[in-house]
Symmetry: C2
């Protein structure tokens, strides 16, 4: 896949969705992992990243678990992916959050293309919150085509 998203980002979003579907409850890593069909230990690592980045709260000990640290409408999907996987841009030269210079940039005929791709990806992901996913707001929404 040319522009594949890794399983880390995908499973992080799955974990957030699961927690969002059980607000007010504490869910164990095992429960979250089972719903995403990944091992507990792997999901644990991912959830720890979510914790470090302020998206979830952990409670230790028996009857412990995880819960969302923010309301779903304040969890931005683009931001989550950037925090876990880095910039959304397909190339460093068009990244807004992690620009990288390129020797070919001055006369580059590709840059405008990558810029458009970046803008479209960022638009979709930055516009979406966890609440939108939980409410299935996107399902029947028309995709725009200029």
């Amino acid at each position: 896949m040319a522009l594949k998203l890794s399983s880390k980002g995908e499973n992080a979003l799955r974990a957030l969705i699961t927690l969002g579907q059980h607000q007010g409850e504490l869910l164990t890593v095992k429960e979250i992992a089972d719903l995403s069909l990944v091992t507990m230990k792997y999901m644990e690592q991912i959830i720890l990243l979510l914790k470090i980045n302020g998206y979830v709260l952990g409670k230790r000990g028996a009857n412990g678990g995880y819960t969302l640290h923010l309301p779903p409408n304040q969890i931005n999907i683009g931001e989550v992916i950037r925090k876990l996987e880095g910039p959304l841009a397909p190339m460093g030269c068009v990244s807004e959050t992690a620009y990288e210079a390129c020797l070919l940039e001055p006369n580059c005929l590709l840059k405008p293309l990558w810029k458009r791709v970046r803008d479209q990806i960022a638009f979709v992901l930055d516009q979406t919150t966890l609440a939108d996913l939980l409410e299935q707001k996107l399902t029947n929404q028309l995709v725009n085509t200029i």
Copy 2:
């Protein structure tokens, strides 16, 4: 980078651009490689892929080289990337050209999001031809935001 494009795809497009800027001429791999700042041998592999996929023609021997096999307005960027790097979708479950089933698909709240991302990427790339890049049609075009 979460959705990075590989250097293979990028350099393939650079090669096509260079050939498009010198239509009617035969350019050697060395000439093309130098303009993209990659080694000749690496660019050679990439150009061979372009040849296998019908985008360029090679002429062997002294004074040989490569030339475009199609007019630039018939070279679709989305198709080039798919041929060299695979489907444009960020996940197999939303690929139009290489769908992959997923056990979580039935109730998946992420799929509509990936679908939108795929559609936006595909729209930009499938709409663009090599001629558009050469004519710099994208440079000042407004990016749409629903």
